[in-house]
């Protein structure tokens, strides 16, 4: 049986030509329906994580490569399959306010998918579904329905978003920085909800973030992107506790761990303009270990069963095929 | 704040410099207001253009102060006023030869004498240069012109031309030709493109001294020949300012009126009756041709009719034309538009002395009695329309074959905006589907005959009715779809009528047969209702007597010229003014 989702050598290039920007560079991975997981895609802004989400949702098309959903290229989905894909691949976005159409009450957000996907057969049933979903994310339907988005708190709004996704029983949920704009006190709550979704409803979650701490809390595996390429990937434990790639090390180093003995931010990330050498390691210009050999693109070197890094520091290790990236991602 | 004022005045200075950079200014003497005449008029001529043969030349913007004719005509005294010529006589009974004797004192402003050479040059130029206004007339009539001596010119015609002297060689109103200086224009290669310039030698009393878009300033020449020759006393007016009020399209009439009231302007373009009424009420020093009583104006040569294209249905039916005339209530027009003054008319020509005598003749009186051209009788109108096959439809409009009568009146807003709306309603009340149309191309539409009905003047007869009656000669009745120039919109065809006119053509107006034929033709005009005469045309010009008196009025016709300072005879009006006490 074809995997639920498969990225096959996907690249996305904006403005192909002289001023082109490679937003995503030859990425491959798979998610399996029978093994729901939480995969974190981490990276700074510009790393390509949002492009990844847009590609996955079918909002933009890949420049090279294919994205297969249940074995079919999502660009070629038609009719029923397309509806199914739409329904089964859902997202929760970063800004819990912007997703609401200010013209309508919050009900609109939940009613539209129910109507469009014929999830309920009558009004009463629709109301049931809405109540159910809201309750599932820890909200009291009576307090929520009939209100305008600006009358609710950020946490409430974000949970309505998750409820919206929940109504559709998706197979994949893309959570694009779902907690970054929510009060810290509510973050745990929302992350828990996501975890519940994965465990109880069997939803695979692609958790997009720049925040390694939350990733560490909820994800099973992680993929660190830098300028569209995978720098390091593997299990969260491996990657975050023992980062191997200089970039991941920098990232992890800059996390303010609640450990007073631990120094952070020891090494500055020096952003540089003339960074990308067309064919070399993308991190070359900022890398403290930059070597001559880095002027050609490093492959993925497998360090542990669940850890791989794209860096010549590990060139002695066995090289992993790009297509086999998913093999190092635990579920 | 101070900075701003400085900035403002600096920019004004700069702008004034730019604005004045294209103007004419000579050394200008200081002349006090009491010696200066202020006239409100429309200035459009390119600055520096004075040559009368320049294409697009007009005499109306002060040029008449520079250019003089062989002879003027005093319309209200019905008298010729010899000018550069001492005399002009037809020397053959059949009007085929004319001898002109010039005044020996006549001089151009550069001291050169006006001689027969200038006259011959002027006539030949008119004949040879296609763009000149009397080109066609000279080609039609002039056989040859010859300078007998320095002061005598003989003009030979190829056919009887009894009206040539008056229509072409005499300046009156806006017609006739001035004499131009041969010694200046001979040297010019393309006269129709020669501007002339401020210092072009001329024979008239005033020279231009300052000219920008706002005003033209003329100062009196000390050495004007006409004073020496005894034609006229030294004029009191030392300076004439033509001030640009933008003419009929520019500054509103009410504002010009206000400027006349406060004596900024001594005279201005003609105005509506009600406005003159209020000017006099505001400033009793202002007077008009008829003093402080209506109609406040003098008769122009331009009586207005509702013209019709008599080749276009339904105007090709004399009954329809007559029916329309019968719903025009001329008494109501006088009351509504002209404060009760008797302006409405039944004639296609103005009642100047010669023409008044004609209409007072028993023959015409009898015709008028019989045909009742001024009758207002809606019932008779309705009867005629029914006879012509029309029925009244639900909108109370006459209809035939599902079509109402397209009685849209074409006219000119600047001069017709008071009278035409009234006519429209009269026609509507009479069942004719009428509307106003003051389009810019009205005249062209009239000429092309695309529409049926036009409000327009005649501008033809001054002394005798021939010119007016000739407008309906079928010689000018071009077929529909072609253009009919020169006010010949009727396209009327009637061989009987043509025969009468052809018989009149070689006759002088004092010939009894001429008078007889004219009455006959007028009879056809009325019974056939070739057009519907509506109003006499009045020029109502305010004369402010605060600074200047002796304006031409009914009581004081002076040299008998009309009072328009912009007409060819305007020079005589201005030079006859007297300083107020």
């Amino acid at each position: 049986m074809a995997p639920l989702l498969e990225f096959k050598n996907v690249s996305k290039i904006y403005n192909p030509g002289k001023d082109e920007t490679v937003a995503l560079d030859n990425l491959s991975f798979t998610l399996k329906e029978e093994e729901p997981t939480i995969l974190t895609v981490a990276g700074e802004s510009g790393s390509g994580k949002t492009t990844l989400a847009m590609l996955l949702l079918g909002f933009i098309s890949a420049t090279h490569g294919q994205i297969l959903y249940k074995g079919k290229d999502i660009d070629n989905l038609r009719g029923k399959e397309k509806v199914a894909f739409r329904k089964e691949v859902q997202a929760v976005f970063q800004d819990p306010f912007a997703v609401f159409n200010p013209f309508y009450t919050v009900d609109h957000l939940l009613e539209v998918p129910i109507n469009r996907f014929k999830i309920a057969s009558n009004k009463h049933e629709a109301r049931e579904k809405m109540n159910e979903a809201l309750t599932a994310v820890g909200l009291q339907p009576d307090e929520i329905l009939g209100r305008y988005p600006h009358q609710l708190s950020g946490g409430q709004r974000q949970r309505i978003n998750i409820a919206r996704a929940l109504i559709m029983r998706p197979k994949i949920l893309i959570a694009d920085e779902p907690v970054s704009m929510v009060d810290a006190s509510l973050r745990a709550n929302i992350l828990e909800t996501l975890q519940v979704l994965q465990k109880d409803y069997g939803v695979s979650i692609i958790y997009i973030t720049h925040d390694l701490t939350t990733a560490f809390h909820i994800a099973d595996s992680i993929m660190v992107l830098y300028r569209g390429s995978v720098m390091e990937a593997g299990g969260v434990d491996e990657v975050i506790k023992t980062p191997q790639h200089p970039y991941t090390q920098l990232l992890v180093d800059s996390i303010p761990w609640p450990d007073l003995n631990r120094r952070w931010g020891q090494t500055d990330l020096v952003p540089s303009e003339d960074s990308v050498i067309g064919t070399g390691c993308k991190f070359y210009s900022r890398c403290p270990h930059a070597m001559d050999v880095c002027k050609s693109r490093p492959g993925l070197f497998q360090l542990e069963p669940y850890q791989t890094a794209s860096c010549y520091l590990y060139k002695d290790k066995p090289e992993l095929k790009t297509e086999a990236l998913s093999s190092v991602l635990p579920v | 704040m101070f900075y701003k004022i400085k900035f403002l005045s600096l920019s004004v200075l700069l702008i004034a410099a730019m604005g004045l950079s294209n103007s004419i200014a000579q050394e200008v003497a200081d002349i006090p207001r009491e010696d200066t005449l202020h006239l409100g008029w429309s200035l459009t001529s390119p600055i520096g253009t004075t040559n009368p043969w320049l294409a697009g030349y007009t005499h109306q913007q002060g040029e008449a102060l520079q250019w003089e004719p062989l002879s003027y005509f005093g319309i209200f005294t019905d008298k010729e006023i010899p000018w550069l010529a001492d005399s002009m006589e037809y020397t053959k009974d059949d009007f085929t030869e004319l001898v002109i004797k010039l005044n020996p004192m006549a001089k151009w402003s550069d001291g050169v004498s006006v001689t027969s050479r200038d006259v011959v040059f002027t006539f030949e130029g008119q004949k040879n240069i296609g763009t000149l206004p009397y080109n066609a007339a000279f080609n039609q009539f002039m056989e040859s012109v010859e300078a007998v001596d320095d002061l005598t010119v003989k003009l030979t015609f190829n056919q009887p031309a009894p009206r040539f002297k008056f229509e072409v060689l005499t300046l009156k109103f806006d017609t006739g030709i001035p004499i131009v200086p041969a010694h200046v224009l001979e040297a010019v290669e393309e006269v129709s493109e020669f501007e002339g310039g401020a210092d072009m030698p001329h024979s008239g009393p005033y020279s231009i001294v300052s000219w920008d878009v706002n005003q033209k300033v003329y100062d009196l020449r000390e050495d004007w020949w006409a004073v020496e020759a005894g034609r006229i006393d030294t004029p009191d007016v030392k300076r004439v300012v033509y001030f640009n009020i933008g003419g009929q399209v520019g500054q509103g009439m009410d504002i010009v009126a206000q400027r006349v009231v406060n004596s900024e302007l001594d005279s201005a373009l003609d105005m509506r009756s009600s406005v003159i009424d209020n000017i006099i009420a505001n400033n009793p020093k202002v007077t008009t041709h008829s003093g402080d009583q209506p109609p406040y104006g003098y008769l122009d040569w331009w009586p207005n009719s509702l013209w019709m294209n008599t080749q276009l249905a339904p105007y090709d039916d004399a009954r329809v034309r007559r029916a329309m005339s019968l719903v025009i209530n001329r008494g109501l027009i006088n009351d509504f538009v002209y404060e009760g003054a008797e302006i409405a008319t039944i004639y296609p020509f103005p009642l100047y002395p010669g023409l008044q005598a004609f209409v007072d003749s028993p023959a015409v009186k009898a015709l008028e009695e019989e045909l009742q051209p001024g009758l207002y009788d809606p019932d008779a109108s309705a009867a005629l329309m029914e006879e012509a096959g029309f029925t009244m439809n639900r909108d109370d409009l006459w209809e035939k074959d599902g079509e109402t009568v397209d009685a849209t009146i074409l006219g000119f807003e600047g001069i017709h905006s008071d009278i035409v709306p009234i006519l429209v309603e009269m026609l509507r009340n009479g069942g004719f589907d009428s509307d106003v149309s003051f389009v810019q191309d009205a005249y062209q539409q009239m000429g092309d005959g695309v529409a049926g009905l036009y409000m327009f003047g005649h501008g033809a007869s001054l002394k005798d009715p021939y010119a007016a009656l000739e407008l309906y000669h079928s010689r000018f009745s071009a077929a529909n779809g072609t253009s009919a120039g020169g006010n010949r919109f009727s396209r009327y065809i009637n061989p009987e009528y043509d025969a009468i006119l052809d018989e009149m053509a070689p006759l002088s107006d004092d010939d009894p047969r001429f008078q007889e034929l004219a009455a006959e033709a007028l009879g056809i005009y009325w019974s056939e209702q070739i057009d519907i005469p509506i109003i006499q045309w009045l020029h109502r010009i305010p004369y402010n007597q605060t600074n200047w008196t002796n304006w031409p009025t009914t009581a004081n016709p002076a040299m008998g010229t009309n009072g328009a300072f912009w007409a060819h005879t305007g020079m005589l009006v201005i030079t006859n003014l007297e300083a107020a006490e």
């Binding site: 469009r116 996907f117 | 209020n278 810019q440």
Partner: protein, 299 residues
């Protein structure tokens, strides 16, 4: 948190009418503008039901009469009763304004939407044409168009059409800009995820949010149209026999009404025009507030 929700539960949500009333009280310009507009509408509608239209044309009544019980607004030089003339003039001016305004707004909205939503060559073409046409003073082109039309066929509607011809670019650009920002808003993405098609997104998600902008564009268009019709009358390019406000005003001017002491003649159409234009301006001002959600939310 719980106390807040409790509170929210206790407040009875007010009805729409009450909300509207409250809103109008907070937005005096909109209120005054609408009130003037309502007054003019009542005047016109009542007038149209009671007058004899014939009285609005010349020779109907005694000329040059000052206002009196018989002629509430006086009569003019031509013997028009100025009260019915004003009623019909308002009605005709309203037709021009509404027709040109509605047409301009509809075309502008449709083009703006097409341009922004579908992008590509269509967008390039439409927005380039708009940008090229915008600096050309519309009135001058009106003059050229109106001058070229055969005057006997000029009706109120032709006049409105002439005004409309150059009135669509403004709304097109405004709506285009709004749709461009709007379609990047996340609720559009979410609507897509919720299975909405383009049609639904345009009409159910984007359009409602543009209503204030469309309303503002419409009001602005009507304003421009009324003004343009006035100026076309002034330069003599309108249907002359009709008692359009601009025509009445200009014929008063060309008969030197002020100088002749017929002050009531130009005053009527002036006040009417001033009221129409001012109420439109005030409504426009009011809608500005409506169009700005930040201002709307902060009460």
């Amino acid at each position: 948190m719980s106390s807040v929700s409790l509170n929210q539960n206790l407040i009875k949500r007010p009805g729409r009418l009450v909300l509207l009333g409250r809103y109008l009280r907070r937005n005096p310009s909109l209120t005054i503008g609408l009130a003037i507009m309502l007054g003019l509408t009542i005047f016109t509608v009542y007038g149209l039901l009671t007058i004899n239209p014939k009285d609005a044309y010349p020779l109907a009544v005694r000329p040059q009469q000052p206002p009196s019980w018989k002629y509430p607004l006086g009569t003019d030089f031509f013997g028009r009763d100025l009260y019915p003339a004003m009623v019909i003039g308002l009605w005709q001016t309203a037709i021009i304004g509404l027709f040109a305004g509605a047409l301009g707004t509809i075309v502008g909205t449709v083009l703006g939407f097409l341009s922004a939503y579908f992008g590509g060559i269509l967008d390039k073409t439409i927005s380039t044409i708009c940008q090229i046409l915008i600096p050309i003073p519309a009135f001058l082109i009106h003059v050229i168009i109106a001058g070229a039309i055969d005057k006997r066929s000029v009706t109120i509607l032709t006049m409105a059409f002439v005004v409309f011809m150059l009135a669509w670019m403004g709304p097109t650009l405004v709506i285009r800009a709004q749709v461009l920002t709007m379609k990047e808003r996340q609720f559009v993405s979410v609507a897509k995820l919720s299975g909405m098609n383009s049609f639904g997104i345009i009409f159910r998600e984007i359009l409602p949010n543009l209503l204030p902008f469309i309303a503002a564009a419409f009001v602005n268009q009507v304003f421009q149209a009324v003004f343009a019709s006035l100026y076309l009358s002034v330069v003599g390019l309108g249907p002359l026999r009709e008692p359009l406000l601009g025509n009445t005003l200009w014929s008063a001017q060309s008969q030197a009404a002020f100088f002749n002491g017929w002050w009531w003649w130009p005053i009527g159409p002036t006040v009417a025009l001033a009221l129409i234009l001012a109420s439109l301006a005030l409504i426009n001002m009011g809608i500005d507030e409506l169009a700005n959600p930040r201002i709307r939310t902060s009460e």
